[in-house]
């Protein structure tokens, strides 16, 4: 199966089709809507299912194997966030706030994307390392914390410079100090919010519970947390499609640069991720999920964190690009591409890789 065939066959799965259906429903201005309570519950359910599954796997395989990939993932997430910032600020000419907000949105991970990835692999009959769920949990706040830290540093610096250039005026000084203090408490608050955010809490909790109960304890709830999984994603993706569809008009406003960024950057991050994971010894499926973690952008957690941490950044930019462009691209196009790349590097060794890649991709 070549890459176009794989994309095509992925396109014709219920998950992708119902997502596209949601987009169309929104475009023809249908009043179709999954009620809020359901669409707020589904991510919690999906994360619990992912976590339980990951925890059970880790009980079987131990978690020593996890540390190197996790450290590498954290490192790459930080590196990529910095890289995004440079590109957005220098090439994209975005202001400091938007640049950091976007950089961390793409440095962070998307739990829904991860769910779709797991379903995709299941469909391909391929498994992945259970500890990737733990990496998902740990990776969630990393990029945000970096971006918030750097934003606050930059703001402090700006303020100090302003202060110098204005001379030392008393009233202004107290204001400045207040600003810096606010900034600090800001970071502290965001740290707390990130770590106690519902996504991380349910994910980590479920991993631990999965680890404790194992296959046997899971059996009584496996129908809910395993067998209903794909159907639940389908229902959630109808709503995600509707929301993405409602945002399509805004895409024009984000500009050509950000549109390109939202497609090229995940591709780059994702393929690098697959290759690095392969080198680290992850399985075919594991490398795909590792790549997907790095390729995905956050669109549920991001606004919750960034509106408080960098309120000056425009949410219309980071939500629209992450949900309206990158998410569809990732689940429809990039996932099969990364699967292809991973298949190649897992079967044939890394020698022929770039040769093969260029054939497969173009």
């Amino acid at each position: 199966m070549d890459i176009l065939e794989l994309i095509q066959s992925n396109l014709l799965t219920p998950i992708v089709l119902f997502f596209l259906f949601g987009i169309i429903a929104a475009r023809i201005k249908s009043d179709l809507k999954i009620p809020d309570a359901i669409s707020e519950f589904l991510p919690i359910y999906l994360l619990a299912a992912i976590g339980l599954h990951g925890g059970i796997e880790m009980r079987n395989t131990g978690f020593e194997a996890m540390f190197v990939p996790m450290m590498v993932a954290i490192g790459m997430s930080l590196l990529f966030t910095l890289n995004h910032y440079q590109i957005l600020r220098r090439l994209g000419k975005f202001n400091l706030f938007d640049s950091y907000a976007l950089a961390s949105t793409y440095g962070a991970v998307g739990a829904v994307t991860f769910s779709v990835g797991l379903s995709f692999l299941k469909n391909q009959g391929v498994t992945s390392e259970g500890y990737l769920a733990a990496i998902l949990a740990v990776l969630e706040p990393v990029a945000f914390i970096l971006a918030i830290f750097l934003t606050n540093m930059a703001v402090s610096k700006q303020i100090k410079n302003k202060k110098k250039s204005l001379g030392e005026i008393d009233s202004s000084e107290s204001e400045l100090e207040m600003g810096v203090t606010e900034t600090k408490s800001n970071l502290k608050q965001v740290l707390h919010e990130s770590i106690t955010g519902k996504a991380i809490v349910i994910l980590l909790g479920s991993i631990i519970i999965g680890y404790i109960i194992g296959e046997e304890g899971f059996s009584s709830i496996s129908i809910v947390f395993d067998e209903l999984f794909t159907g639940a994603i389908v229902i959630f993706l109808i709503e995600m499609g509707i929301i993405a569809g409602q945002r399509l008009d805004d895409i024009k406003k984000v500009g050509v640069f950000l549109i390109s960024f939202s497609i090229i950057m995940p591709t780059f991050n994702g393929v690098i991720g697959v290759l690095v994971a392969t080198v680290l010894g992850l399985s075919l499926g594991g490398a795909v999920m590792f790549g997907l973690l790095l390729a995905s952008a956050s669109f549920i957690a991001a606004p919750a964190v960034l509106r408080h941490a960098i309120p000056q950044a425009k949410p219309s930019l980071y939500i629209t690009s992450a949900l309206g462009i990158t998410f569809p691209y990732n689940i429809i196009v990039l996932l099969p591409i990364m699967f292809m790349v991973s298949s190649v590097v897992h079967n044939e060794g890394s020698i022929d890789l770039f040769h093969y890649l260029s054939e497969g991709l173009i």
């Binding site: 707020e40 929301i243 409602q246 549920i300 606004p303 509106r307 408080h308 309120p311 000056q312 939500i319």
Partner: protein, 101 residues
């Protein structure tokens, strides 16, 4: 029964600014408030469809006139620039002024 004049401050804002509004109230020693989710349209576009974080909330606070100025000043200064927010004040009569500081 005598009705005493107090002020009702209503703040309609994006849901992620609710915490900021309530923090400002707390800072001014106001603990009582009522809040509920709403949707709406304004300068920052249609809000209330889609993701929970993209909804609005209304926060209503009964308070004495004395505190009003400080509270709305701080809300205006810290939140008007970056958040979808609207604020208005009306006159209401209450029975127990001691409940509303």
């Amino acid at each position: 029964m005598k009705l005493y004049n107090v002020k009702l401050l209503t703040v309609t804002c994006e849901i992620l600014a609710q915490k900021n509004v309530i923090d400002i109230l707390t800072k001014h020693d106001i603990t009582g408030y009522t809040a509920y989710e709403v949707e709406g349209n304004g300068a920052r576009g249609l809000r209330g469809q889609g993701l929970k974080n993209e909804k609005n909330v209304k926060v209503e606070v009964i308070m004495q006139e004395e505190k009003l100025q400080d509270v709305i000043e701080e809300i205006a200064r810290t939140l008007f620039t970056n958040f979808a927010i609207v604020l208005y004040v009306s006159d209401v009569g209450v029975l127990r002024t001691e409940k509303f500081v």
